[in-house]
């Protein structure tokens, strides 16, 4: 006989979250302590009475920060449920009321009262000037906020939503809260800061003026002027890159699936390159090859006896760099599409007397059309969001992503201008994202059924096969040259000037010595290297956890608002890193969440930038698990949490490892968001390298990049050994697409 879960006293989950909330209110410092979120030094600093380290209760008892006191009372309210069952309406409604009221008050006071009293002028008029102030929320506040959230979700569960499942509703609540807090809130704050005028007021007119300025939208270049608006530059570049990468991606996909096996291995290996390569590295190689002192430029100048020029800086260089960088992404998308065209369709066409060329042109290609559009949009988004290459290669060809950066870090430090540019960029990428999801989403012809179609794809027409092989060979040659150049360049003393070989760059960056304390990491790169490693490692875990949890909710649960939920969780994929960076700087510089300059902000930005990776990997592999596995676990008496833990997670082990590794690698190579968020104490490899490039210290930058690529290659290689090639490959088609979103 199965044991029943009914309680005569108080539901244990309610007790748990009441206790957690009260611990946050009574025991832990409410505000963030000076030495950082996780530091325990507050135990020594006058705890619990000193205001800086005091829990909310002690603050209230001393008559300080009295606006926190209602939270404590609300936390006690669930005790009224003593003796009530979960299916008692009072149980659910009281928890909903307590949770909702608690959360509302929690955030209202957090956003209303800041470093200088009231945050909004109208509150001054309404309630009088507030003499007190408060800092960013700390450990205590986090516990209390979480308690209110989960009391709320328990209340909703008790009222019977989603089969009254605490775990599922709690998970939904958690994911929604995190996404709102760390994706939507910063973006919204950024939108508001775009409205700020030079005088500090808010004005839509001033925003419109900035947004429609000729700096963004000018078309001088068409009329013979020197330059066009930044927005046009970005758009133009992104469209061309989208078209070219899609065409090349299709060519590679056709070679991989429709010709002999010869190139297959090599091609698939190439797809791992964008995963392990920091985004600006291709740009660096282009400079080494085609820059002023570049190999080809110099050779050209010597042969034809002309003055070498900086022709590559700007549009040409960006086109080359981004095409090289993003073609593998298009390839990954399109290989799935090309394989997805059912061979029986093509065989049917052939039996209907179409020859190979006609079959390809009238059946295969039209069936791939939605996939082609998808690849184009991905290339478009990638190019728009790319930050590293324009930074090192852009020259006078300004694009949105770098303009945002210069608006914020340059001498101008113009938050409003950065926000305006970010909005323009966001509009482009979100439109593409929207088109991809809602317009294309309904137009896929490819079959993803479990049972494969019998039959084989017909080989390509001979002329086409030769043509695309030539193009592919050319591309592969350039790619190999690029990587060879990077590797070789890391040993060259001063490229183009003094071409003698040296280990100096590596010694400068990675020297190890001994001193009285033992091993001494002497090289200048070690600091940022170890910081990057541990931050990437730490962020990989929550990324994979949230990603898989979200995937579980998306694949396995039905609930109201699921489509909006899915859209929200995948949205961060379409938000360029620079936009995230700017919005984080704007949003998290002030209470209630005050984390700029810490490692936490880096970790959080990685988690939410890379979350779609985990979600997609999870969705792809979870869709392959038969739903009846969970259901049988449920009918055998396990609850949904136990089912998730004992059945789903063990079966997803390869997907978990893949998600961990890829979020680690993506964190290692990310640049666009973190360049806004790094601090002297927490510098990262990529921003360190970009800093060296800006100082024209190419040697050390290239050496460091090479080291990073080698490390990442090793990590990916180890994972492939552990998980096994087959597993990765299978979910690769759906799962790897997103890895290059770094930028």
């Amino acid at each position: 006989m199965r044991q029943r879960t009914e309680f005569d006293t108080l539901h244990p989950a309610v007790i748990l979250w009441m206790a957690a909330g009260l611990a946050g209110f009574v025991l832990l410092p409410w505000y963030v302590v000076d030495d950082g979120f996780f530091s325990l030094s507050w135990l020594m600093e006058g705890y619990p009475f000193e205001a800086d380290a005091a829990p909310a209760l002690f603050l209230a008892l001393q008559g300080k920060k009295l606006w926190l006191a209602p939270l404590g009372l609300l936390l006690l309210a669930p005790a009224l449920l003593w003796g009530r069952r979960k299916n008692d309406p009072v149980f659910g409604y009281l928890l909903i009321a307590v949770g909702a009221a608690g959360l509302a008050w929690f955030f209202a006071q957090g956003f209303a009262i800041g470093l200088r009293g009231w945050n909004f002028a109208w509150l001054n008029d309404l309630a009088g000037k507030l003499e007190d102030r408060q800092f960013g929320m700390g450990m205590g506040a986090v516990f209390t906020g979480a308690a209110f959230l989960f009391l709320l979700t328990q209340g909703i569960a008790a009222r019977g939503a989603v089969g009254g499942d605490n775990f599922v509703i709690g998970s939904i609540g958690l994911v929604v809260a995190l996404v709102v807090l760390f994706i939507f809130m910063p973006i919204v704050k950024m939108l508001f800061s775009a409205l700020i005028t030079d005088e500090g007021g808010y004005s839509v007119v001033s925003f419109a003026g900035k947004f429609l300025s000729s700096r963004l939208w000018g078309i001088d270049c068409l009329a013979g002027g020197s330059r066009c608006g930044v927005a046009w530059n970005s758009l133009f570049l992104a469209v061309i890159v989208g078209i070219v990468t899609t065409a090349l991606g299709l060519i590679f996909a056709l070679i991989a699936t429709r010709t002999g096996m010869k190139y297959q291995r090599l091609l698939r290996a190439l797809t791992v390159l964008p995963v392990i390569t920091p985004p600006f590295v291709i740009g660096l190689a282009i400079i080494l090859l085609f820059g002023l002192s570049g190999m080809f430029t110099q050779a050209w100048a010597w042969v034809f006896d002309v003055q070498p020029t900086r022709w590559v800086y700007g549009l040409p260089g960006l086109l080359i760099a981004q095409t090289l960088a993003f073609t593998p992404i298009a390839f990954l998308v399109l290989i799935g599409v090309v394989e997805g065209v059912s061979p029986s369709m093509e065989e049917a066409a052939q039996t209907l007397r179409a020859n190979r060329w006609q079959t390809f042109w009238t059946v295969s290609l039209p069936l791939m059309r939605p996939g082609l559009a998808n690849a184009f949009l991905l290339g478009f988004i990638e190019s728009m969001a790319d930050f590293g290459n324009p930074l090192v290669l852009g020259g006078n060809f300004d694009v949105l992503s770098t303009e945002i950066f210069f608006a914020i870090v340059g001498a101008q430090y113009d938050q409003a201008q950065a926000a305006v540019l970010a909005i323009a960029l966001l509009i482009f990428t979100l439109s593409a994202f929207y088109a991809q999801r809602f317009w294309l989403g309904k137009r896929s012809y490819t079959t993803v059924a479990g049972k494969g179609d019998a039959g084989v794809h017909p080989p390509l027409p001979r002329g086409v096969a030769i043509g695309i092989s030539v193009v592919a060979g050319f591309w592969i040659a350039i790619t190999l040259i690029v990587y060879a150049t990077i590797f070789y360049g890391s040993f060259v003393k001063l490229w183009g000037v003094d071409n003698s070989l040296t280990f100096n760059h590596y010694i400068q960056a990675f020297a190890i010595g001994w001193n009285e304390f033992g091993l001494h990491w002497k090289g200048s790169a070690w600091d940022s290297f170890w910081t990057t490693i541990w931050i990437a490692l730490v962020s990989a875990v929550p990324t994979a956890m949230i990603g898989l949890l979200t995937a579980y909710l998306l694949v396995r649960q039905r609930f109201a608002g699921k489509e909006a939920f899915e859209f929200g969780t995948m949205l961060s994929f379409a938000i360029p890193g620079t936009v995230i960076g700017v919005s984080y700087v704007i949003a998290f510089n002030v209470p209630p969440i005050e984390i700029t300059g810490t490692a936490i902000i880096l970790i959080i930005s990685f988690v939410f930038r890379n979350m779609p990776v985990g979600v997609r990997a999870g969705v792809a592999s979870m869709s392959q698990l038969d739903r009846s596995l969970d259901e049988s676990s449920l009918t055998l008496g396990a609850n949904s949490f136990q089912t998730f833990l004992r059945v789903i997670l063990p079966l997803l082990r390869p997907a978990i490892l893949a998600a961990l590794v890829y979020s680690f690698v993506r964190a290692m190579t990310a640049i666009s968001a973190v360049i806004f968020l790094v601090s002297a104490r927490y510098d990262l490899s990529t921003s360190y390298i970009v800093g060296r490039v800006e100082n024209n210290e190419y040697g050390i930058a290239i050496a460091y990049s090479t080291a990073l690529i080698v490390v990442m290659l090793a990590v990916i290689g180890m994972m492939q050994l552990i998980v096994g090639r087959r597993d990765i490959g299978r979910r690769g088609q759906a799962g790897q697409v997103q890895f290059a979103g770094g930028g």
């Binding site: 029943r4 499942d165 596995l629 055998l636 079966l651």
Partner: protein
């Protein structure tokens, strides 16, 4: 050694409706049924009729839109699967591929609060019950389809559930194994006195295995009863045709007396049970294998001309054109010299045909 017993209980549906989110028509429409303790009841119907939804409603994998479900006299309408005392054997078996056979069977016991020692004993008892006591250490992937099936049954049985559910358990087995497994399930159910709800779309399977059959069509119960009742006295044309094929011939009731009806089918006159019908037009359901063949001109028989004769090994399948329409008849004598275009007389039996309202 533990012995697997039974806590069998009844299931009561009162006015249950299920409408899936986004769907316009209900998947289950105001169904009220009672499933007795210790009986094997089959939900039978074509695909999409709502039988699997009904099963999942009992399991707690779906929740009613309105109405109530009682199991063992207790209202479980809002309880999720975890909290219901119900086990289910899935069509795909749903054995956990990362656990051994034994761990699979122990899985549910772990969540039921048994002491550790008893968990092992019960799992072994369950495996012996299905004859797989020596296979505990294997992984599901190392078993044949039939063995996996039995593991799934053992895993559900050891929990001694109030109700045991089977969702098309035989559909992944080959034809010969089906009969064997079907009989095994029936035997275990009888020996332990389990309440079993069994979903299938195969009418022969349903007839063979059930105490009672609930025939569903278009989200409602079309008819409910013992197998023989359903076969011999279908309530309507759908049931008549779905459970064993039937000819539905137009006829006319000329007179009713004492519950017996005089029925005219073309030139043939029969006296049959009236089943509450009134004189006037009606339909007659006749099983093809009950129709007899005679030489042309036989008395009280239906003149017909054969339009199609198909030899299928154990019998001949014939289509015959008559004045009241096409009749499908089966001739058990494979040596009969029937050919297309032959004139014959079809003899309608006095036992078997059932009147159905117009």
């Amino acid at each position: 050694m533990s012995v697997i017993g039974s806590n069998a209980a009844s299931v009561e549906f009162s006015d249950v409706t299920k409408i899936y989110p986004g769907a316009r028509t209900p998947a289950v429409d105001r169904i009220s049924v009672h499933i007795e303790t210790g009986k094997l009841v089959t939900l039978l119907g074509p695909s999409g009729c709502g039988k699997t939804t009904t099963l999942r409603l009992i399991a707690g994998l779906e929740f009613v839109s309105s109405g109530a479900i009682m199991i063992g006299g207790r209202d479980v309408t809002t309880l999720p699967a975890t909290e219901r005392d119900v086990s289910m054997v899935f069509q795909s078996y749903a054995l956990f591929p990362h656990m051994s056979v034994r761990e699979n069977v122990e899985y549910g016991l772990k969540f039921s609060g048994y002491p550790k020692k008893e968990i092992g004993e019960r799992a072994m008892a369950g495996l012996s019950l299905v004859g797989l006591q020596d296979y505990g250490a294997r992984l599901p992937s190392q078993l044949s389809g039939g063995q996996q099936q039995r593991v799934a049954v053992a895993r559900a049985l050891v929990l001694e559930p109030q109700v045991l559910l089977f969702d098309e358990p035989l559909s992944n087995l080959d034809a010969k194994l089906r009969r064997q497994v079907r009989d095994d399930i029936r035997e275990i159910q009888r020996n332990l006195g389990l309440t079993v709800v069994y979903v299938t779309h195969d009418q022969e399977e349903a007839l063979a295995v059930s105490d009672r059959i609930i025939v569903m069509n278009n989200a409602v119960v079309a008819q409910e009863g013992r197998p023989r009742d359903l076969y011999d006295e279908p309530a309507d044309a759908f049931v008549a045709d779905f459970i064993g094929e039937a000819n539905l011939l137009p006829c006319e009731i000329t007179a009713i007396s004492g519950g017996q009806a005089d029925v005219r089918i073309g030139p043939v006159v029969l006296t049959l049970a009236a089943r509450g019908l009134k004189p006037g037009k009606a339909r007659l359901a006749i099983r093809p294998n009950r129709i007899g063949f005679a030489d042309p001109g036989a008395k009280n028989a239906l003149p017909a001309r054969l339009t199609k004769v198909t030899y299928v090994g154990k019998h001949l399948e014939c289509f015959a054109e008559t004045e009241i329409g096409t009749v499908f008849a089966i001739c058990g004598d494979v040596d009969a010299l029937l050919a297309i275009g032959d004139d014959v007389s079809l003899i309608l039996p006095t036992r078997g045909p059932v009147l159905i309202g117009h």
